[in-house]
Subunit: 396 residues, 2 copies
Amino acid sequence: MGSIPKIVILGAGYGGILTAQNLQKALRHKEAEVTLVNRHDYHYITTHLHMPAAGTDSIEHARVSISGLIDGSRVDFVKSTVQAIKLDEKKVILDQGSLDFDYLVLGLGGEPETFGIPGMLENALTIRSINSVRLIRDHISYQLAMYKNDGNPARLTFVVGGAGFTGIEFVAELADRLPILCREYDIHPQDIKIINVEAAPTALPGFDPELVEYAMDVLKGKGVTFRIGVPIKECLADGVIIGEGEKIPAGMVVWTGGIRGNHVIEEAGLEVMRGRVKADEYLRAPGHDHVYVIGDNSVFMNPEGRPYPPTAQIAMQQGAVCARNIAAAIHGKEPQKFKFSNKGTVASLGRGEAVAVVGGRKIKGWVAAQLKKIVDIRYLFIIGGIPLVLKKGRFF
Amino acid sequence: MGSIPKIVILGAGYGGILTAQNLQKALRHKEAEVTLVNRHDYHYITTHLHMPAAGTDSIEHARVSISGLIDGSRVDFVKSTVQAIKLDEKKVILDQGSLDFDYLVLGLGGEPETFGIPGMLENALTIRSINSVRLIRDHISYQLAMYKNDGNPARLTFVVGGAGFTGIEFVAELADRLPILCREYDIHPQDIKIINVEAAPTALPGFDPELVEYAMDVLKGKGVTFRIGVPIKECLADGVIIGEGEKIPAGMVVWTGGIRGNHVIEEAGLEVMRGRVKADEYLRAPGHDHVYVIGDNSVFMNPEGRPYPPTAQIAMQQGAVCARNIAAAIHGKEPQKFKFSNKGTVASLGRGEAVAVVGGRKIKGWVAAQLKKIVDIRYLFIIGGIPLVLKKGRFF
């Protein structure tokens, strides 16, 4: 590499933004050419999307302009969609043009995993982008408006598939939001049904059972019906078929039941497990020392050999280490092994309620809800400092 | 009639509310039993519905709770839908129960007239009630949200059928509203199309040609495309077929092309012209001296023998005279002939623009727009005094 090395970061999610920001710090001026590629000119705060989806917070609180997050003199930004990755040619094909790379960071994020459930891809909505949650928000009010014109009671049934973190957090916001919408649309709140369907034997699989019970009690108190241990067999345009063939007519089905990797990564010829690349201890794709995989595009194993769940937290930590390791490679230094440091987990349960595990301690209720806000604000501070906290933070 | 006479007013529109309020004044306590029947527990300001339909004003500014408009000790209010009118039995059948009457006032309002255009009833939205305009408002944003997910450009085409007062006023609000929505939904305003289709040879038929031209120029300047003298041949789920078979793919079709009378009135066995009863000079249905017809349920002829257009203005004046004539009948006095007094006409063209004819004078632009606000505020004052003006009035 005689000339300046080219670093291309695909995706401006948690991992990609942290990689870009840390590269800005770790590299001297003109030491490398860093290009960040993203489909939109904004970064979105995925862990916050359940709120604008339900309409309990504004869309603008869930996204940040990328130009405000990176130093344009150090990192180039290209707004484009990645079509293909040519690993042998060290080239990325975009919808308009292409980019050569010496180092590649794969942080394109995941795609909904529907496990082949018939009709799910076609008929269900998903919480995965600003555009998709805006559609959910508008779909909810559209159903209420339609109900007031055609009287079809199924329009007032809202089904959420999946009771993982996203499903539970979204259901909680829905339960907070719908009574307010009912007043606006002259609908009796008792006529609304919110049904959360989960195939696994428990809600929030992997989470502390005592907190799971607390969470379900809070949500039941808000009017949510749980169907736990019941699989969705089929998603229709007007409802779902669950369990042994029971049909639930519904005006909306939101699928939160799974995330897989990215089809672009699979098609690149990398070895994947459900669309994710099993990263080595330096976050590199096996056999491709110049290709780093982070966030939902990677699978990283814990010391017991089981994959860590794909969270914002791990993606951010991976972004920082990935940047350090690319800088080390350029500087001819030793890379650093990635080690996940678990800061804890918080699941919001709507206004004033949450459950959390921090440092082995269980926290619930109002205190946990404040913790959730602190986690969100801490993230805004990390990526954008005080100005971003003041602009996008939710304090109340 | 030995006992107290029973007066039943069907419909709490412009005519019905004015009848009820004037009866309160004209009759002494216990002189009659007055019952007002309406489908909703609120009165809506039909001439204002084009704004919440486009989302340029709130729904709440277009409706008023009926309990705030009538004196509950003088007029009973029944929230119910009229199923049938049995003129011979002097009985009104409601969806729950029935009411006997000695005097009946028909002010049920009109229904959309689609002139048998195929698919119009099934596929087009209409500006006729709080529920219907809420659906239009939500349908607009739903199309924008869908576009950002499926990229179908037809979703950004909005067709309004009919360029009468409602059509023109609604198109103007749409043209004001869509650029704002475009910013919210990350859509280029140039990608939006607003098309106003009118079969008649001119927009605003019957209005002053100079003002029609001015109105069209204002709206063209806001990006509206006119197809005047072109009939809609069919309304589809995904657009319209116009003229000689040209298809306009569209995400929304709003039909404002006509109003007819009410099917309940037709089914009552009264002689009707397009669902409207030709009222006698005292506002009574021919051959039924105890049945009064007002507003969109009636046709009233001008001195040249042509029907007056059905407006809020004429309905209000009819309500006042109708009340006076019922009181006269009860008091054994002579009824009064109805004479329409034209206070003028204003058509709003969106923010800061309107056209008006008042006392034969043509007024356009900002002054006409202020006039429109004054007309609206005057109406709020008539039905609810200063408190209602302060609560629902738009001053800016």
